[in-house]
């Protein structure tokens, strides 16, 4: 139910953002389409804690700035590698110690969003990653991002290093 309300609120915000009008006719049309969308989402069963993770909003405030910092740093690393050489493609497998699929998806997407690493497969709590050079791969081998995502999801953080291969 929380998720449905959050979805409706997000859709309402989107509507206001795109229209910017406050005429009665337009507002009624807007409310009707929002209700229709929420109903369809409910019928499709996508309105759950995976499809609309509102519970991550507050922890996300800590996670996203860190992720943006990572993205900036690895952008510069990869840009240097493209311009001045140093490209050494490699494949590695890292442990995803999150307890559920949502956490692993967040982790895999964070890996892909960071330039220099692309997650190419998620299987049995391990993520196969293609990295373009040593610098970006080493960042994953230490398992720092893994633990950050665990913290975001509220999972217990394991202290052991998480790299394999």
């Amino acid at each position: 139910m929380t998720q449905a309300i959050a979805l409706a609120a997000a859709l309402a915000g989107f509507w206001v953002l795109l229209s910017g009008y406050w005429l009665p006719l337009i507002i009624i049309l807007g409310i009707a389409s929002i209700l229709l969308c929420v109903y369809i989402a409910h019928r499709l069963d996508v309105c759950d804690h995976e499809g609309h993770p509102v519970h991550l909003t507050v922890p996300g405030l800590w996670y996203f700035p860190w992720l943006v910092k990572e993205i900036v740093v690895s952008n510069i690393t990869v840009a240097k590698a493209i311009l001045f050489g140093g490209v050494r493609p490699q494949v590695l497998r890292v442990k995803a110690s999150q307890s559920d699929e949502l956490g692993q998806t967040v982790y895999a997407n964070s890996i892909t969003l960071t330039p220099g690493t692309v997650s190419i497969d998620v299987d049995n709590n391990y993520i196969t990653v293609h990295a373009i050079m040593d610098g970006t791969a080493d960042g994953l081998r230490t398992g720092e991002m893994d633990q950050k995502v665990c913290k975001l999801m509220g999972d217990p953080v394991s202290e052991s290093g998480s790299a394999k291969a």
Binding site: L17, I82, L83, Q90, L92, A108, T114, V118, I120, D121
Partner: protein
């Protein structure tokens, strides 16, 4: 104040353009499709991000800034999914990344989905 905002916004936009161009150069220069994925993600993250933030500084606190932020959020959430889907599609069709060791090649092969591997 306005001049300072202007300068900041131009620094962002020029930075974004620089990352776009480097990413585009990487698309041409790098050796295989997996390496090029990284060049493309240069464009998708900082290239787009810096340009949009620069435009936000130009627009000030208006509806336009909110829309730019919305585009930024969309691209940030969708681009990793698209990249991952592309990598998966390539691997399932036996386009394997150029890597140094046989170990790594085996690791890639083992990620193929069962139905495709059986064919």
């Amino acid at each position: 104040m306005a001049a300072a905002l202007d300068i900041i916004s131009w620094i962002f936009i020029v930075g974004g353009i620089a990352f776009c161009l480097i990413g585009g150069y990487g698309l041409i220069k790098l050796k295989d499709v997996y390496a090029r994925l990284h060049a493309a993600s240069l464009i998708d993250t900082l290239g787009v991000g810096l340009i949009l933030v620069g435009l936000m500084f130009q627009a000030g606190l208006t509806l336009v800034t909110a829309k730019l932020a919305l585009i930024l959020v969309f691209i940030f959430f969708t681009s990793p999914t698209a990249t991952h889907a592309l990598a998966r599609a390539a691997i399932n069709h036996d386009v394997l990344p150029e890597v140094d060791t046989e170990d790594e090649r085996e690791m890639v092969r083992s990620t193929k989905t069962p139905s495709e591997a059986a064919k």
